[in-house]
């Protein structure tokens, strides 16, 4: 099957779905042209992520990756959340199809973007956060042929 049971579970029953009106940090990455947008909302108290929500426009693995990423950072100190890698997200999902790895990259970047927003709002340094160009690398590096089948 295309997706692991874990991915399907997070896709069908996404954790932390929604928005936070009075969020302390909001990050949005991807763009509609590429077909994936993730938006992550953080509540941060004492450098601890006390609440997190997401909205995602995208494929099954994009939604599942967002859901998993929010689970993985919830209750964690910001510094630890910053260390979340796409690899960790992918592993936690029991893997993603090769051409879907970029979705986990997007989740990593969305978390970073939300934290960067939080830091900026609070006058904190952001130089340890890799800057995201607003669209996952996957979108443009997609080459014809890797599993891109059609009838």
């Amino acid at each position: 099957m295309l997706y692991s049971d874990k991915v399907m579970d997070h896709f069908l029953n996404p954790r932390n779905l929604g928005t936070i009106d009075d969020a302390d940090g909001v990050g949005e990455v991807g763009n509609a042209k590429c077909g994936d947008i993730m938006k992550i909302y953080l509540k941060i108290d004492n450098d601890i992520i006390t609440d997190v929500k997401f909205n995602t426009f995208g494929c099954g693995s994009a939604i599942a990756s967002s859901s998993m990423a929010t689970e993985m950072i919830k209750g964690k100190p910001v510094d630890e959340a910053l260390k979340l890698t796409n690899k960790a997200v992918t592993e936690a999902l029991d893997g993603l199809p090769p051409h879907k790895i970029h979705c986990s990259v997007l989740a990593e970047e969305a978390v970073q973007a939300a934290i960067a927003d939080y830091r900026t709002r609070n006058g904190l340094p952001t130089d340890d956060i890799p800057s995201c160009n607003g669209c996952c690398g996957g979108c443009h590096s997609h080459d014809h042929g890797h599993g891109h089948d059609e009838e």
Binding site: G35, T56, D149
Partner: protein, 397 residues
């Protein structure tokens, strides 16, 4: 309600009759049609009868039909054959459209690398090629026009007869990829002025892995597969007689029942179109009138197609988004872009393609499910959020 299969443009279930014919050949007529002995000659007879049956339906001579391993192979062979003819005549310009199937587009790209020049015609917002555009594009060095009979993603039917007439008049070869049309629409290669036509059995409840290429007498085919002299030396390999006979049976049935099937299936489709059009900021893709009886294709703003498909699947509905594509959300369909939809909207596409097996109850179920799923996905979509807040503007009103 059982699982609703609404992806008949991707492939169909074989009809009981075609499967029985196939099984009969497997059990009782399994010899090689090239063999001299009686079993071989009986196989040769069945091969000839299958060819005859298909030729009658297309209104051509049996010798103008060669059997292939499917629609893609037929498309490849048609284009490469025309290119070889063009090469010999010093004519290296080909006209096609922006929304052909990849079997055509990728072959054209290969030919471009070999020095051919290809004009890809617009298909306009309604997804229909204009014969006058074809006429205007023809040059003295044009060897071939290739325009599909009906599009596989949005179901639009092209003005093949008019395009064929222009090509005939201008002395240019005319190929049509009729993979989605054969068995669903009446086709007459004489009246339609077609020089080459590709078809594939699994699109009309026949077996997979078998198709045919019609090539008018006098159009020299180049063989893709060299070897024995099967198919008059134009396609080597032991003939897949069970599949060929199954294809002939399926096509005969499809043509016999075409009027009844069209009436039934287009009523289902019309109900779908009606029901789904009620979803706000949705649009039918492709012309409303000139479309395959079984094809309802939509775009919904603010959502992405793969998640839509997966959630419909959870609700027991098998559909597709653009063309069946496991690459998910990366490449929006070239067809939807060709009819002028922006990328972000093209991502939110849904294709429902019906067969006579579908029922009116299923349509109501589909309408309800799509309505619910679209609403849910919009709820969790940051794009929809922005649209609603007026941060972005709707493309689909």
């Amino acid at each position: 309600m059982g699982y609703i299969y609404a992806d008949n443009a991707a492939t169909t279930k074989m009809s009981r009759h075609a499967a029985e014919v196939m099984l009969g050949v497997i059990e009782n007529n399994y010899a090689n049609p090239s063999s001299l002995h009686t079993p071989g000659q009986l196989a040769a007879v069945q091969l000839a009868e299958s060819r005859q049956a298909i030729a009658e339906i297309l209104n051509c001579e049996p010798r103008e039909i060669i059997f292939t391993g499917g629609g893609s192979e037929a498309d490849n062979q048609a284009l490469l054959s025309a290119a070889a003819i063009g090469q010999r005549k010093g004519k290296k310009h080909i006209i096609s459209t922006k929304f052909e199937h990849h079997a055509v587009l990728h072959t054209l790209q290969k030919l471009e690398k070999q020095g051919f020049e290809v004009t890809y015609l617009d298909v306009h917002e309604n997804g229909i090629v204009r014969p006058e555009d074809v006429k205007a594009a023809i040059r003295p060095d044009t060897v071939l026009v290739s325009v599909m009979y009906a599009n596989n993603e949005i179901g639009t039917i092209q003005p093949i007869r008019a395009i064929g007439a222009i090509c005939r008049e201008q002395g240019v070869l005319f190929h049509t990829d009729a993979v989605q049309a054969v068995g669903h629409l009446p086709i007459d290669v004489q009246a339609d002025n077609i020089d080459m036509l590709s078809l594939s059995a699994h699109k009309f409840h026949g077996p997979k892995g078998v198709g045919a290429l019609y090539a008018r007498k006098g159009v020299a085919l180049t063989s893709l597969i060299e070897g024995g002299a099967q198919e008059r030396g134009k396609r080597a390999g032991t003939e897949d007689l069970p599949a060929i006979a199954g294809m002939a049976a399926a096509l005969q049935d499809a043509v016999r029942d075409m009027d009844a099937n069209t009436a039934r299936v287009s009523a289902l489709r019309d109900r779908l179109i009606e029901g789904l059009s009620a979803i706000p900021h949705s649009t039918l893709t492709g012309d409303r009138e000139h479309r395959l009886p079984g094809c309802a294709s939509f775009c919904f703003e603010g959502i992405e197609g793969e998640s839509l498909l997966l959630l419909l699947d959870q609700k027991g509905i098998g559909a597709s988004s653009g063309s069946a594509c496991t690459s998910g959300s990366l490449d929006p369909s070239h067809v939807l872009l060709a009819i002028g939809l922006p990328h972000e909207v093209a991502h939110g596409s849904l294709r429902l393609t019906l067969s006579p097996e579908n029922t009116p109850e299923e349509m109501e179920h589909i309408i309800q499910a799509v309505t619910d799923v679209v609403a849910y996905l919009r709820l969790i979509s940051p794009v929809w959020n922005d649209l609603q807040k007026g941060i972005k503007n709707y493309v689909i009103q």
